[in-house]
C-alpha cells in the first residue's frame, strides 16, 4: 500500500455546513386540539412540550386531550359522518382529497422542515421521502373515492363510520397520510392521534385541512399521550381503530376491543431479515443494507435489522459495509448533507443504548462509525454487530434504532428457516442476481413485503403490512381500502 503513504492532509475535502433555512416556516407557541375545523383548548387546560431532539430545545406547547376532549372529537366526527361525509357524492369526496394533496404539495417545504425539527430526521429524508410520499398518498386515494366498486368486484361495500387512528413518531406526517387518506376515500370520518413527541406536522396538516375547506368534523386531530389514545380506543362510538406502533401496545389495544364489535387493523413491529447471496450485486446490496437499517436512524418498523450474508462473501461484504458507513454523515438533521439525524427521544436513545450494551455483553463484535457526537441532542452512531447468533437477544428483539446484527449462512434452506424463525413477519430483503432464486425465496419468506434487490421502498400504490405478530391488515394500494370498508355478504 505504498501509495497510501503519499496521502496528504491538504487533499481532505470536508463539506461546509449547508443548513436548510427555517425562516419560511411558522410554528405557533402553543397548539390546541383540532375538532370540527376549530382550535379548541383542552378541557384539562394541560399542555406538554414538544422538543427538537437534535438540540433538546422546546419547539411548542401541545394540548393534552383527555377523555372529554376525545368525546368531543368523536361526536364531531360522528356528526360529520351522518350529516355530510356519507351524504355527499363520492366524486366530491374525491375532489376534497385531491385538494388536500395539492395544498400539501404547495407547503411541502414547510412541512419537511417542521418534520425534521420535531422528529430529528435528516432534511434530505423529510424533503425527498416523507413529505412527497405523504402528498402522493392523498393523491392516490383521492381517485379511489368514486371507484370503490372496482376494488371489490361483485361485492357490495359500505363505509364503517367513525375511525380512530393512532400513529407513531417515526414517520409522523406520512403515517397521518397513510391513515387518513384511505379512510376518507372509503367514506369514513376520522379522529387522529399523533404520537406525543411528534405532533407538529399533523397540526400543520390540520391548518391545511381547514384552509382546503374540508367539511368540519371530517378530520379531527387530537394530541396527547398514551391516555389520550386509550380514551380514543375505549370510546363507545368508534367503529374502527387503526393503529401503527409497537406490538406490545397493539396487543393491549386489541384486548381493549374484545367484545366491542369495533374493527381494527394493526401495523406493528418487525425484525426483518435482509438476505445477501454470493451472487448478489454486492455494491448495491451494501446500499440496500445501509438503507435498510440506517434510514431514519433505524426507526423503521420494517428495518432490515437482521442481516444474513452467505458465508463465502461475508468478509468482503462486511468490509464494504464498513467502508460505506464511514461516508455516512451524522449530525444536525437540518443540514442537507446529514445522513443520520437525531434519535427521536431520550427514552428511545436509552433503549437503543441498552441493546448495544447487551450486544457487547453477549460477546458480539461491535463496529461503529468514528467521530464525535453533537454535544446536545439525542444521537446514536450507526452500529453493526458481527458474530451474532440467532439466539442472541440482539437478533430477536426489535431495537428500533441504527443497530444491525450480522449472521452468516451457508445454504438457501438454512437462511429461509432462520429468516422465518421470528414471531414477526413484516418485511424481508433478498439480494441475488438469479431470478429463479428470487422467486423461490420471495414465496417462502413469511413477510408482508419482500424487497428483492432493493430495500425500504414505499409507494401509495403498494400494499404494506405484516404477517404474524407484525399485525394485520394492509395499508396502501387497492388492498389498503379493505381496512376501511365492510363487505356486505
Amino acid at each position: 500500500m505504498e501509495n497510501k503513504k503519499n496521502a496528504s492532509e491538504d487533499h481532505q475535502w470536508l463539506y461546509s455546513p449547508s443548513l436548510e433555512s427555517t425562516s419560511h416556516i411558522e410554528i405557533k407557541d402553543k397548539y390546541e386540539l383540532f375538532i370540527n375545523n376549530e382550535w379548541i383548548a383542552p378541557t384539562s387546560n394541560k399542555y406538554f412540550d414538544t422538543i427538537n431532539p437534535a438540540d433538546e430545545k422546546v419547539l411548542s406547547k401541545i394540548a393534552w386531550a383527555n377523555a372529554q376532549d376525545v368525546d368531543k372529537a368523536v361526536k364531531a366526527a360522528r356528526k360529520a359522518y351522518d350529516e355530510v361525509w356519507s351524504k355527499i357524492s363520492a366524486g366530491d369526496r374525491s375532489k376534497y382529497i385531491f385538494r388536500l394533496a395539492r395544498m400539501m404539495q404547495e407547503k411541502a417545504r414547510e412541512l419537511a422542515v417542521i418534520e425534521t425539527l420535531d422528529a430529528g430526521k435528516p432534511i434530505r429524508e423529510s424533503r425527498d421521502i416523507d413529505v412527497p410520499l405523504a402528498c402522493n398518498h392523498f393523491f392516490y386515494y383521492a381517485g379511489w373515492a368514486d371507484k370503490l366498486d372496482y376494488a371489490f368486484p361483485n361485492q357490495k361495500t359500505e363505509s364503517l363510520g367513525v375511525v380512530g387512528q393512532i400513529i407513531p413518531w417515526n414517520f409522523p406526517l406520512m403515517m397521518a397520510a397513510w391513515k387518513i387518506a384511505p379512510a376518507l376515500a372509503a367514506g369514513n370520518t376520522v379522529v387522529l392521534k399523533p404520537a406525543e413527541t411528534t405532533s407538529l406536522t399533523a397540526l400543520k396538516l390540520a391548518e391545511i385541512i381547514k384552509e382546503a375547506g374540508i367539511p368540519p368534523g371530517v378530520i379531527n386531530i387530537i394530541t396527547g399521550h398514551g391516555d389520550t389514545g386509550e380514551a380514543l380506543v375505549k370510546h363507545p362510538d368508534i367503529n374502527k381503530i387503526a393503529f401503527t406502533g409497537s406490538t406490545q401496545v397493539g396487543k393491549a389495544i386489541q384486548k381493549a376491543l374484545v367484545g366491542t364489535g369495533k374493527r381494527s387493523t394493526l401495523e406493528l413491529g418487525g425484525k426483518s431479515a435482509n438476505i445477501i447471496f454470493d451472487d448478489a450485486p454486492i455494491d448495491q446490496a451494501v446500499e440496500g443494507i445501509v438503507n435498510g437499517i440506517f434510514f431514519n436512524q433505524g426507526h423503521v418498523c420494517c428495518a432490515g435489522s437482521r442481516l444474513y450474508v452467505q458465508e463465502n462473501i461475508a468478509e468482503k461484504l462486511v468490509e464494504k459495509l464498513k467502508h460505506r458507513m464511514k461516508s455516512l454523515i451524522l449530525g444536525n438533521p437540518l443540514d442537507k448533507n446529514t445522513d443520520i439525524g437525531a434519535i427521536n427521544s431520550r427514552e428511545q436513545l436509552q433503549t437503543i443504548e441498552k441493546y448495544i450494551q447487551i450486544g457487547i455483553q453477549e460477546g458480539s463484535e461491535i463496529f461503529q462509525c468514528e467521530g464525535a457526537l453533537p454535544a446536545n441532542g439525542f444521537y446514536c452512531k450507526p452500529t453493526i454487530f458481527t458474530n451474532v447468533s440467532q439466539s442472541s437477544v440482539l437478533s430477536q428483539e426489535e431495537i428500533f434504532g441504527p443497530v444491525l446484527t450480522i449472521q452468516t449462512f451457508r445454504t438457501i434452506d438454512e437462511v429461509i428457516q432462520k429468516a422465518n424463525n421470528s414471531p414477526y413477519g413484516l418485511a424481508a430483503g433478498v439480494w441475488t442476481d438469479k431470478g429463479s432464486k428470487i422467486f423461490n425465496l420471495t414465496s417462502k419468506l413469511k413477510a408482508g413485503v419482500v424487497w428483492a434487490n432493493t430495500y425500504n421502498k414505499f409507494d401509495p400504490a403498494s400494499p404494506f403490512g405484516g404477517y404474524k405478530e407484525s399485525g394485520f391488515g394492509r395499508e396502501g394500494g387497492m388492498h389498503g381500502l379493505g381496512a376501511y370498508l365492510k363487505i356486505i355478504k
Binding site: M1, E2, N3, K4, N6, A7, S8, H11, Q12, W13, L14, Y15, S16, P17, S18, R124, D128, D279, A280, P281, I282, D283, Q284, E287, G288, E319, H323, S327, K336, N337, D433, N453, T454
Partner: protein, 306 residues
Amino acid sequence: MLESNKHSIFQTINAASPIDKVGVEERVARFQTRSIKDDAKAQGLKMVLSMIDLTTLEGKDTPGKVKQMCFKAHHLHDLHPNLPQVAAVCVYPSMVAIAKQALEGTSVKIASVATAFPSGQSNLEIKLADVKLAVDSGADEIDMVISRGKFLSGEYNFVFDEIAMIKEACGVARLKVILETGELCTLDNVRKASDIAMYAGADFIKTSTGKIQPAATMQVTYTMLLAIKDYFEATGKMIGMKPAGGISTSKLALHNLVMVNEILGPNWLHNEWFRFGASSLANDVLMQILKLESGSYQSPNYFTLD
C-alpha cells in the same frame, strides 16, 4: 505475461459481482443531494480546474487552434490571481509537437489520444505506430481506446493483450484506457472492461472518447470508481479515473468529486489520480468561482473562449 498469471487474473475479473442499474441510479441520485457550499465549494471548484484535461479533438484542429488552447491552459483567467492551471491539454498525435512547443516551461501536461482514436478500428501495428508518434513528439500521457468490437464479441483476451502491448509502447508516458462506455451498453460490461484495463496495465481508466453518447454519466463513473476501489483493495495499486464527455457544468463536476471523495477517499482528490476530459467546463467553473467571491452572477462575455 505468463499464461497462468493471466488465467488467475481472468478468474478475478470474472468473479466480479453483477451490477443492478436501478440501485446504481439510486446511489448516484443520493450523491447528487450532497450540497456543496461556501469553503467546500471554493475548494472543490479549484480542484476541478486543476483536474481538467483541456481538450480539442476535431478533424478541423489546426496548429493555431491548439496554440490558443495551450495558452488558455496556463492562463485560465489572468484577472484572477491564485487560480490553478489545468492538468493537461488533450490533442491528436499530429498536434502533440505543437502543444509541446506552446507549453514549454509550464507544468501543464500533454495528453494525446492514440490507437486509431476514436473507433480503434485498425491493426496493432498501426496502433503502436500511432502511440510511438505521440510519445516521440513529447506526449506525457496516452489516451488509448479499447477494441469495443472485440470486447462485445467476447474476445477479452485480445482486448487485454492489446492494452498490455500499448502500455509497453508508452514507456514512461502514463496510459489512460478509454472504454467508450456508451458502446458497452451495460454497467456489467463497464465493470468488466475496467477490470481488464487495470489488470492489463492502465494507469488511468477513462469513460469516453466524447464522440459517442451517452458519455461520462455519473452511473458509469460510479461503476468505474468502485472497480478502482476493488482493484486497490486487491493489489494496493492506485489507478486514476477520467470521466470525459458531457461534463460541462460546475455542479456536475462537483458531484463527480463527491463520488471520488466518498468512494476512493481524499487520496484520489488530486490531478494525479482524477481528471475531467472537457472542453467547456473550465469557463463554467471560473464563473462559479468568481460568483462565490464577488456574490454576483457572471456573464460568459467576461471569460475567454480559449
